[in-house]
Symmetry: C2
Subunit: 314 residues, 2 copies
């Protein structure tokens, strides 16, 4: 066993967009194991949008990340040493447990089943449809026989969403400059209106979809990545410009975070694992190589440059 | 029986604020009764904010009011002639059935019990707390033993809300010029944060309360009267400027309209009638005299000049 390990610490907090200077790669001495602890040789690191929120020193659902301490992130790996009688050194399941049957899959499962609750004949819209969460939401809709329209950036992602994931339609939001033009495109793909919307992005997408909601629609707010780099004091891109729709369509908008619902993990995770095992639920991964590549991969993910779940092979 | 009757028709649609020129008082010949109809001598007319929405020719939850036809509105009165065997000429219940045990009371009851669902130890905030709906919401909270903070315009309404209706606190929103100052006042009256908010007004109040929401809070959107006279194309005062709070507090915001829930009328109305009969639920009425006074009373209500349920004695 090595007598040192490598870690990335938060070197400084970002103002607006994250830069690589926010991070510092360090080598630290390997600590001895205390009673009850295990040592894991990590093989994959998960990069997720929530990590951007923790980089601010502001009230949020997660505690702010402390400066000069290891950036938190989910990993999978192998137990190499144990002083915990309950943990043997057998293999921990690998990369899918950071994605489609892990945190991002559970996020999709919870929002779809507990907030959107779509019924037969309804239409669901999903933003960031090629992403780790959105791709699972849309496939859960497809598996349930519900019409699903995705939004994604660029023709490659849209083709993946319809041809590989089986969404009924996918709209390239980059081809619609104005919210009204975007709404017209979504409306053409959802001719009976929108009954449920799963929001990962915010901004123009959210405001465009809001104008198309049917009575008693449900909107799950999972992420607002369009604003994660908006400086404090500036009008958020996701500001809701048409609040009167709450009365016109009597809809529900609900934010959620999957870690509030750990009690549902066994139920959701086993459903997702069943879909993956049967080949009904597909996923794609973007894998960066080595811990030193993590900051650039994280910044790329915040700009939508990844394609599927963003991981780092360690 | 008179051979004519008086009615107010919609003469023109408003652009921004309603003016008296939007209405015209007419005399029309009294129609004969068809089989199945009854003739009612109306004694009270109810004036309600939803009527403003119907004056626009735009998509909303209610059909637009047609030009040059009688303005719709709820009334109570006496049956004076019947060609309907199911309706006898006995007295129909009077003004309270337009208010605390009628449509506005039911609106409060539905939003309080089916959207806010407050639990012991929580704090509820209500805007337009002296109004026909808000006053009932706050008293339902008080009856259930839940801390309730009202918002109202001016010291007279605030005194009524705390001293006569029994709210724990009431804030005069006119004494706080900026949203941050308003939030500070609400926060002082809700030191444990806000778990449920009943919104009748919108604008700065909604944005101020949003910053104070506790995790898993519920916000019922009943009305956004601050914007009913905002011209199309102008930024609504109720635009939601801090959408990130949906993630920070994982709250639910839900619009509703009581006429979607007529099935609950017997349950809600009998609960409200029980509270009124026992003296636990108080209400105040602003009564204008005569049909010709209705347009001015309606415009006054939209500006918050009424105190309690706005009626017209016919």
């Amino acid at each position: 066993m090595s007598d040192s390990y490598r870690r990335i610490v938060l070197a400084s907090r970002p103002h607006g967009w994250v830069t690589e200077e926010c991070f510092r790669l360090e080598t630290a001495p390997m600590p001895a194991l205390a009673e009850g602890e295990v040592r894991v040789h990590n093989q994959f690191l998960s990069l997720d949008p929530y990590m951007r929120g923790r980089m601010n020193d502001a009230k949020s659902y997660a505690m702010p990340q402390k400066l000069n301490e290891t950036m938190g992130g989910a990993t999978v790996g192998t137990v190499v040493e144990s002083r915990n009688a309950k943990v043997d050194a057998s293999k921990i399941p690998l990369s899918a447990y950071l994605g489609a049957v892990g945190m991002t899959g559970m996020t999709a499962w919870y929002g779809f089943n507990r907030i959107l609750e779509p019924k037969a004949g309804e239409t669901v819209v999903v933003s960031a449809a090629a992403g780790a969460v959105g791709s699972v939401v849309g496939q859960l809709a497809r598996i349930a026989g519900i019409r699903v329209v995705g939004l994604a950036g660029g023709p490659d992602k849209c083709r993946f969403v319809t041809e590989e994931l089986g969404f009924d339609a996918c709209i390239d939001y980059k081809t619609a400059a104005l919210p009204a033009a975007l709404a017209a495109k979504i409306s053409a793909a959802a001719p009976k209106g929108v009954d449920a919307h799963f929001e990962n992005v915010g901004g123009d997408v959210l405001n465009a979809v809001m104008t198309l909601l049917n009575p008693f629609a449900r909107v799950a707010i999972c992420g607002l990545i369009a604003d994660y780099n908006t400086p404090p004091g500036q009008l958020p891109k996701s500001a809701i410009m048409n609040p009167g729709m709450f009365l016109v369509a009597r809809f529900k908008m609900q934010g959620f975070i999957v870690s509030d619902h750990l009690d549902l993990w066994p139920e959701g995770s086993s459903a997702l694992a069943g879909h993956v095992a049967a080949g009904r639920l597909k996923y794609r991964e973007s894998i960066a190589d080595g811990l030193a590549a993590a900051p650039a991969a994280f910044i790329g993910m915040l700009k939508g440059q990844n394609f599927g779940k963003q991981l780092v092979r360690l």
